[in-house]
């Protein structure tokens, strides 16, 4: 069954499900909350090239009454009401009176969390069914493909999107794979049905740049007899590219300031320059502690910030350095052993990173795992407690909500139950850190996008219609 194991976790398999990667740029805190802000100077991020057409039609108020709220800001509020209005979190209080026309959800015995944010997914670019012709996640043709944008690969009808929604995932970052030193741009999506990827794009979310350390790039290109074939070859590849990007950025800045002949556009360098000016966040697939430390030095050498190390199996070894450098780590609860760089796994990884003061989060990199991120977080929480740390649900919930939102530069808009934020909310049947609890209702921008009690309010992709029985439903 190794072939299945290898489909995930950063290995390239026959099925072509490559692995992944990541790192992002942090501007403030552990993430780039204002990364997408307008700046003077050249527009390297090009947010308007394929603009988001995301919208939510209805905004009937929603009152969830008397539930246990994990706010994502460190609080657990029992028997509390939550009002969603105009797509936003409007009020958290006792005894809120339901507005006229409100959808009232009896929250007695239920728990409520912010919508889950998965910082690492391949839904849409490695869709199901995983047939060769739809494996569009990794442009494995050169070690630097910073010019590709993974949104151009996303198949919106991937039936895995609705499954993730049923698991409480409201926002997810789709990343290119990890074969390349620079894999290309990521895209952050709201988990809603869309005819086009633009309909799903999280409005205003900054782009990410996927980078990859370690085994994958050196194996893929070394195996073809080209660079890189070693980890030092990887690093030379990063530094050469950043030197070129610095030069490109300076040319365009000079042009913006002084005019003259317009420099030639280069898609690859444009993305890297967008990192250097802080508009694009670095999401860096990096397993080993040593390599994370080297990557942080490279970011200092060239003056950019890494947002997040993904698949950071050894983040715990350098947790203090992550905290000092303001870099997040996205981790699994227990995955290990599929490659040598994933061998030194400890289940206390998230706990140790968190306790060292760095921004820690769970991530999936898996269309199965993304449906169970609450369970994965629960395992990490128990590992924290077994390691002697005093960490309860009110804190652990940030590992699947606020911290990934920070890593994506959208924590000012989603990731916690705070007044004015997007009403991305999950109503759980019970404590979400139990295997027996399920997401019962999932709201995105205040709209009920998934209702376990109402099959008519459970989205299905085009692919699923008539796929088993012409007149029946797949699920």
């Amino acid at each position: 069954m190794q072939f299945r194991v290898l489909c995930r976790g950063g290995l390239l398999s026959l099925r072509g499900m490559a692995a992944t990667v990541c790192a992002a740029l942090l501007l403030a805190g552990c993430g780039g909350d204002d990364a997408a802000g307008k700046k003077d100077g050249p527009d390297f991020a090009r947010l308007d090239a394929f603009p988001s057409t995301y919208s939510i039609e209805q905004s009937r108020p929603v009152l969830i009454s008397g539930a246990t709220l994990l706010t994502g800001t460190g609080e657990k509020l029992e028997n509390t009401d939550l009002l969603l209005k105009d797509g936003k979190i409007a009020r958290i209080d006792d005894g809120i009176k339901a507005p006229r026309d409100a959808l009232v959800v009896d929250g007695k015995g239920k728990w409520v969390t912010p919508g889950i944010v998965d910082v690492h997914s391949h839904l849409g670019n490695y869709p199901a069914p995983a047939i060769e012709s739809s494996q569009d996640g990794n442009e494995m043709t050169a070690p630097n493909t910073a010019e590709v944008w993974t949104e151009h690969s996303v198949w919106t009808q991937d039936p895995q999107f609705p499954l993730a929604l049923a698991g409480g995932v409201t926002t997810l970052q789709i990343l290119p794979g990890s074969a390349n030193l620079f894999g290309g741009r990521s895209v952050t999506l709201k988990n809603v049905p869309g005819r086009r990827v633009q309909d799903m794009k999280f409005p205003g979310a900054p782009y990410g740049l996927k980078m990859a350390c370690g085994e994958n790039p050196k194996r893929v290109y070394g195996g073809k007899g080209q660079a890189p074939s070693t980890r030092m070859g990887n690093v030379a590849g990063y530094r050469k590219a950043w030197i070129a990007a610095q030069d490109y950025k300076e040319k365009w800045e000079k042009y913006a300031a002084e005019g003259g002949e317009e420099p030639e556009r280069n898609l690859e360098l444009e993305t890297l320059a967008g990192v250097l000016n802080g508009d694009i966040l670095v999401h860096n697939h990096c397993y080993r502690g040593e390599e994370m430390a080297v990557m942080m030095d490279i970011s200092r050498e060239f003056g950019f910030q890494i947002s997040t190390f993904h698949h950071a199996v050894e983040a715990y070894k350098v947790a203090d350095l992550l905290a000092k450098n303001n870099v997040c780590a996205a981790m699994w609860a227990d995955w290990w052993g599929f490659k040598h760089e994933a061998f030194d796994m400890t289940e206390a990884n998230i706990a140790i990173v968190d306790q060292a003061g760095a921004c820690a989060m769970i991530h999936s990199d898996s269309a199965v795992g993304i449906q169970h991120l609450n369970e994965e977080t629960a395992k990490a929480m128990v590992s924290a407690q077994r390691a002697g740390f005093d960490i309860g649900p009110e804190h652990a919930v940030t590992w699947m909500t606020l911290n990934p939102a920070k890593a994506l530069g959208i924590a000012d808009r989603t990731g916690s139950l705070e007044k004015g934020k997007m009403a991305d909310v999950v109503v759980w049947s019970g404590n979400p850190f139990s295997v027996y609890s399920q997401a019962e209702k999932v709201f995105i921008d205040g709209e009920l996008m998934y209702d376990r009690d109402n099959p008519a309010r459970q989205p299905r992709s085009d692919f699923e219609l008539g796929i088993i029985e012409a007149e029946g439903e797949r699920l």
């Binding site: 052993g337 269309a367 629960a378 797949r474």
Partner: protein
């Protein structure tokens, strides 16, 4: 030699060397998964590696008492169809012994000589409550050997106890494994029909060999498509003494496998069975058990479009014996995650005790090995859990294998303890 044996004994390397101890596990909620049912509060007495008695209260003296009040006691988990002891790092080919490529060997492949009881995967999974495992070879479809494979039989299985002892193989020649469906098709030249034909041809030749052994061995027979070693290895299968594990996910592939089982009177086990719920009645009627990945609800291939969370519940309801394996991403390194999968199966309708059985009793029963229940005279593979064993926040506090308390230390806990507070300097290199 004698001195060598003494050294082994001193090092504690002989399983069973310390069997004399009696243990009394007191006051836990005991799921026997046997005729004794569930005791809300009960004691389990263990002597000489066996369970001696289970009762609401046992007052017999014991060398050691384990206080299980407020805890839950179950048989140890048994992993079905793992590659434990045959792999260390999936992507490091030198550490892998679970598959061979080429045509020279198929059903005769016996991976036992490659089994490594000191694999780091063993203490790790033991610490998570796995006490036994069925180990089967598989066919690798990735990496250097990919695409060169032209057979559908992977070879023979065996079973291990996860005590890390050199003599921890507890059952041999447990059966054969072969591939149908998409994987079979890939291995057999591009059509699942040919994978089916290959299995059928092998069985037919094995039968021919059985009926004409002497002539065939003398060379006085037509040329057969399989080596004598392969045909010998298939004898227990065609005589109904060993099961044949067949991978199949699509409902129609499962039905084809059932047909084959009927024709050759096979003890069939279906591995995968993503669409098993669609043919659950047929599986039940044929008394064919399944080994499934209970969290695989992805229509990840065209042969598993019907994959769904309540597959286990629906098959159980129809009367199919269900065993649950680790998830696809954890079929060996993380076999213990079958427990989380079983918990998910409960959420989707599998009765609670049936879910426990799916990771213990049913595995033992399907493969005909010891364990999987707590009953007097049975092997004392016992786990004392901090709470509900199917809950993700519970964990094993005590693990007994063959009556012996096991260490729960593993590389995950060692690395945790070394790096609990990571800091600059060289001292961490001296923390063990």
């Amino acid at each position: 030699m004698k001195r060598f044996l003494i050294q082994l004994l001193c090092l504690g390397l002989f399983a069973g060397a310390a069997h004399a101890e009696t243990l009394l596990i007191k006051g836990g909620k005991v799921y026997t998964l046997s005729g004794q049912g569930t005791l809300a509060q009960g004691d389990v007495l263990v002597r000489d590696g066996k369970v001696e008695a289970i009762a609401p209260s046992i007052s017999e003296r014991a060398d050691r008492i384990i206080d299980a009040r407020g805890k839950v006691v179950t048989p140890g988990m048994i992993a079905p169809l793992s590659e434990l002891g045959l792999t260390e790092v999936s992507a490091a080919s030198a550490t892998n012994d679970y598959a061979v490529s080429g045509e020279s060997i198929g059903s005769a492949f016996d991976p036992r000589p490659a089994y490594n009881p000191k694999s780091t995967l063993i203490p790790y999974n033991r610490a998570h409550g796995v006490t036994r495992a069925v180990v089967f070879p598989s066919i690798s479809t990735w990496g250097e050997g990919a695409g060169e494979l032209h057979r559908v039989f992977a070879g023979q299985g065996f079973a291990i106890a996860l005590n890390g002892n050199f003599d921890s193989v507890v059952a041999e020649q447990l059966g054969q494994k072969a591939y149908l469906g998409e994987l079979g098709s890939q291995l057999a030249g591009g059509s699942r029909a040919n994978a089916f034909a290959r299995i059928e041809t092998a069985l037919a030749e094995a039968r021919e060999y059985l009926n004409n052994r002497d002539a065939i061995r003398r060379g006085n027979w037509r040329e057969l498509g399989h080596s004598l070693a392969d045909l010998e290895a298939l004898q227990p299968v065609i005589q109904g003494q060993q099961p044949l594990v067949v991978t199949a996910n699509r409902a129609s592939d499962i039905l084809q496998a059932l047909k084959l089982a009927e024709e050759y009177k096979l003890q069939l086990i279906i591995q995968g069975a993503a669409e098993g719920w669609m043919v659950a009645d047929q599986l039940a009627a044929a008394k064919v058990p399944v080994v499934i990945d209970a969290v695989n609800n992805l229509p990840i291939s065209f042969e598993s479009l019907g994959a769904r969370f309540d597959n286990a519940a629906r098959m159980h309801k129809a009367g199919v014996t269900v065993a649950i394996s680790g998830p696809g991403y954890g079929s060996t390194h993380l076999v213990h995650l079958a427990r989380q999968s079983a918990g998910n199966a409960v959420v989707h309708g599998l009765p609670y005790e049936e879910a426990l059985k799916a990771i213990t009793t049913n595995v033992a029963r399907i493969f005909g090995i010891e364990g999987g229940v707590l009953s007097p005279g049975g092997v004392a593979d016992v786990v004392v859990w901090s709470g509900d064993p199917l809950e993700v926040t519970s964990y094993p506090e005590q693990v007994l294998i063959g009556g012996e308390p096991q260490s729960l230390v593993n590389r995950s806990t060692r690395l945790r303890d070394r790096y609990l507070k990571p800091e600059q300097g060289h001292e961490m290199g001296y923390k063990f």
